[in-house]
């Protein structure tokens, strides 16, 4: 369970950014989370609350946008969204696919701040 250390990194990043902007209050942190990032959404949400305790972000929300696995199909010559990460095959032509375009994201994209 590495979600707690990831949540702590998120809180740290948000705190730094808030300080950088003159000590603004953070209402929410927006995160992109890919299905191939190896991070469990529910565990991260729970960990986030724990990580916020006693920090300036206590009471803030973590808003997670889940990113599907998008791969490049060498046969269709285009991006395709996987039906399941248990099967790396093009959903249309069933060719095996290995080039991942999206799905590994673990990125803080925005902060909802109060000035």
């Amino acid at each position: 369970m590495h979600e707690l250390s990831i949540a702590m990194s998120i809180v740290e990043m948000a705190e730094e950014e808030a300080e950088h902007r003159g000590g603004v209050h953070v209402n929410a942190v927006h995160l992109k989370l890919g299905v191939l990032a190896g991070v469990v959404k529910d565990a991260l949400l729970l960990s986030y609350q724990l990580a916020c305790e006693g920090t300036d972000l206590q009471g803030s929300r973590l808003v997670i946008e889940e990113i599907a696995a998008v791969v490049y199909c060498p046969k269709c010559l285009g991006p395709r969204t996987l039906d399941s990460i248990q099967w790396f095959a093009c959903p249309e032509c069933r060719s095996p696919v290995s080039q991942v375009i999206h799905g590994r994201e673990l990125q803080v994209v925005a902060l909802e701040i109060q000035e």
Binding site: H2, M13, L31, G38, Q86, A89, S98, L106, Q107
Partner: protein, 230 residues
């Protein structure tokens, strides 16, 4: 959203710090021309036995060393020390995976340019190590025949981030009625095209293929950067 609140763009990778250190490590490894192989698997899959055998066999032709991650004990390092190559333990405490900074600290004082191979044994865990680049050139995922054929489907992310899969404890395959073909099929589903090797650390079967694979990887130096971590 009230009048005083607004959204500001940040766009920062959460694991940025780890990625930066991993990139620096990889550069350092390339400069020293040491081929770095990491091993990931669930606990009890035979990583340490496999590594001990590998180190012992490689030792006669190459200069090798190993780092081994474990939550609490130093038992693995003690076992690996029997292979008579330099071994260091990284005790992670409560942390379930190795991070690049831990590897960097553990390497202090070692002359990397005097090594041909460096092995990094991750903490036994099929989830968390998937997210952390430790600067390796080759990531090996191990699956023992006693774990069942469907492990790759249960942990697709770690299998997908690995470069090669090794089936271990093949000497037990018959006894546990392990279906090699099904395991291979499941591995290909989550990582099409991945090389699959079968070994027994106990009786040495398959170790020749594994050593050839390693030697080939090293001789093709500098190795390709891991595309999934770019």
């Amino acid at each position: 959203m009230s009048a005083q609140t607004r959204l500001v763009e940040v766009r920062q990778n959460v694991l940025k710090q780890n990625d930066i250190v991993a990139r620096e490590l990889r550069q350092q490894f390339h400069d020293a021309a040491v081929y770095v192989v990491s091993l990931v698997s669930s606990p009890g899959s035979g990583k340490t036995a496999f590594l001990e055998k590998t180190l012992t066999l490689l030792r006669s032709n190459y200069r090798v060393a190993a780092l081994v991650g474990d939550l609490a004990t130093e038992n693995d390092a003690a076992r690996l020390a029997r292979s008579l190559v330099p071994v260091r333990q990284i005790t992670t405490g409560t942390l379930c995976h190795l991070e690049a900074a831990m590897v960097r600290t553990a390497l202090e004082g070692w002359k990397l340019d005097q090594l041909d191979f460096l092995f990094i044994e991750n903490v036994g865990n099929l989830v968390c190590p998937a997210s952390y680049d430790v600067g390796e050139d080759l990531r090996v995922v191990l699956l023992s025949v006693t774990e069942g054929e469907d492990k790759p489907l249960k942990y697709p992310t770690i299998f997908n981030t690995a470069d090669v899969a090794v089936l271990t404890k093949m000497d037990l395959a018959e006894a546990v009625e392990f279906d090699s073909a099904a395991a291979a099929c499941n591995i290909q589903r989550v990582r099409p095209g991945m090389t699959l090797l079968k070994v027994s650390s106990k009786n040495g079967a398959g170790m020749d293929d594994w050593l050839r694979y390693l030697a080939h990887g090293r001789h093709a130096y500098p190795p390709r950067l891991l595309s999934h971590l770019a």
